[in-house]
Amino acid sequence: MKAKIQHKNLRKIIQQAMFFIFRMAAAINGICLLLITTFIVSNGWHAINWTFLTQPPMDSMTKGGILPCIVGTFCLGLGAIAFSLPIGVSSAIYLNEYAATGKVLRMIRFGINNLAGIPSVVFGLFGLAFFVIWMKIGVSLLAGILTLGIMTLPVIIGTTEEALKAVPNSYREASFGLGATKSQTIFRVVLPAALPGILTGGILGISRAAGETAPIMFTAAVFFTPDLPSSIFDEIMALPYHIYVLATAGTEIEATRHLQYGTALVLITLVLGMNLISIIYRSWLRRKMI
């Protein structure tokens, strides 16, 4: 009897010990995130001031600000989403509302899954070969937008599908019962109900596009342009590429450290901020639904 109790205690102790290890593993993720963000914030906030945010780089990028990069990144993110949101949402509507299970559906899903797995630098190569050279758009904002747009498609499709799935079937049935057609049901009942979820996906898409470097390296971004983009055929500067250039290829890597930290801070504020908004919004939505 005593041995049995001891055995039971031992099992409890093993469980406690293992759970402790798992807790630590989970904590490491949080610690890493905290480490990187506090490092960037504590080093970067000295660099942030009005001049930094509103002036173009000066003296071969050793002084001045990053305004063209901020504008460029905004244009890229918004442009990419303007391209991929309509296509992604329509694709998701087809997959979730129309498609019957079968070969066609499997083919389309295969395409989306593999598109999601393609390395970002391969998107860059494709953008260079197709948009920049074959379509003769040249290195420009437009080529970058199209490349990033295709890259963010799987994100949009995935989040939209999730939002559509969360709309209860009783909504659709009630609409059919009132005599509405399928397209009327989709446009007037399902889409409005799924809209908040779709918007969350859109925000995630923008933040993904804004943070990417490799796809715009050969398609849109250049080392330096003093002017803001005036048309979609202009070359642009972008925050992630600017960090890369200053940190690796600049002539004064050590002297421009504060600019690098500052640019990184602006970028992660933008990207993490958008992600945080969508996470909070999503959890609020879930709570409202329950």
Binding site: N29, A129, K182, Y244
Partner: protein
């Protein structure tokens, strides 16, 4: 009237269908353009010499286009990062799905998502200015930009992928399996290790492969912290030049239509084939070995 509506409905259906094919069309176009721009190099170099050639001197006379060191570099950083990211990712997933209380879960899960959303260039930058000097000092090595540093940074990036996909797999294990195990007197830990893990192992395996696929294709991190030497590494503190880093570093200098340009696209083909086969394996595993009931436990 009804006929008109039917026609309109059918048109809407076709419209959504044709838009949905854009993804697969894009995938096809990406493949096509990679091959159009990459294949010409094989008129100069045989496929075998390209893949297994040990020298990469694209600009010397005559040029050498051997990407074997680059492939080894890619596989090296991927495998070493997997050694860290697999235990960390899977353990975090189990913690989130089975151990954490709902309140804590609500906080930790978004943290993992935020970690996933960190731009790769920022992680690369962190590796350059913090991890590299640290490694250099601690291990007393000539440069901190090496295979070890790149693997560490890549592990950061693949943990969230592994974690979120494994968590889905663990979460979808049928509740009656778990309840039966607990009812038989197993502790929560024994239930996790002997029932839930075996039941979700196919999903976890798929998650691991997808995480490795993300690591092998990640560009900015390896471009900034791997060191960039196109040689076969002798130790984990040697600099390497993985495939994506090589493409990103040299594309700007390669003259359009030249051998170097085509060779870089051919490197892209190899990278594309590597990641696609990783994805196909993951897809196969998660479909074929799906745990559909109690029978095969």
């Amino acid at each position: 009237m009804t006929l008109k509506i039917q026609i309109k409905e059918r048109r809407v259906n076709y419209f959504f269908f044709s838009v949905a094919t854009i993804s697969i069309a894009s995938l096809f176009m990406i493949m096509m353009f990679l091959f159009i721009e990459g294949l010409p190099i094989f008129t100069k170099v045989s496929v075998k010499d390209f893949v297994f050639g040990k020298l990469w001197y694209p600009t010397s006379e005559p040029p050498d286009f051997g990407i074997f060191p680059l492939i080894i570099g890619s596989l090296g950083v991927t495998i070493f990062s997997a050694l860290m990211s697999i235990p960390l990712g899977v353990m975090t997933a189990i913690y989130l799905a089975e151990i954490a209380r709902p309140g804590i879960r609500e906080v930790v899960k978004p943290l993992v998502e935020l970690l996933a959303s960190l731009p790769s260039v920022v992680i690369g930058f962190f590796g350059m200015v913090v991890v590299a000097p640290f490694l250099q000092e601690v291990f007393d090595i000539p440069t901190g930009l090496n295979l070890c540093n790149a693997s560490l940074m890549l592990a950061f990036m693949s943990v969230p992928t592994i974690c979120s996909i494994s968590e889905d797999a663990i979460f979808s294990v049928q509740k009656n399996l778990k309840e039966a195990s607990l009812a038989l007197g197993a502790t929560q830990w024994e239930t996790i290790i002997r029932v839930i893990l075996p039941a979700s192992i196919s999903g976890i395996a798929a998650a691991i492969i997808l995480g490795m696929s993300r690591a092998i294709g990640e560009t900015m991190v390896v471009l900034m912290v791997a060191g960039g030497a196109a040689m076969i590494p002798g130790s984990i503190f040697d600099p390497v030049r993985p495939l994506p880093a090589n493409i990103a570093a040299e594309m700007a200098e390669a003259p359009f239509g030249g051998d170097h340009y085509h060779a870089l696209f051919a490197t892209g083909i190899i990278l594309f084939l590597l990641t696609i086969s990783f994805n196909l394996i993951a897809d196969h595993i998660s479909h074929k070995y799906r745990q559909s009931g109690e029978a095969s436990l």
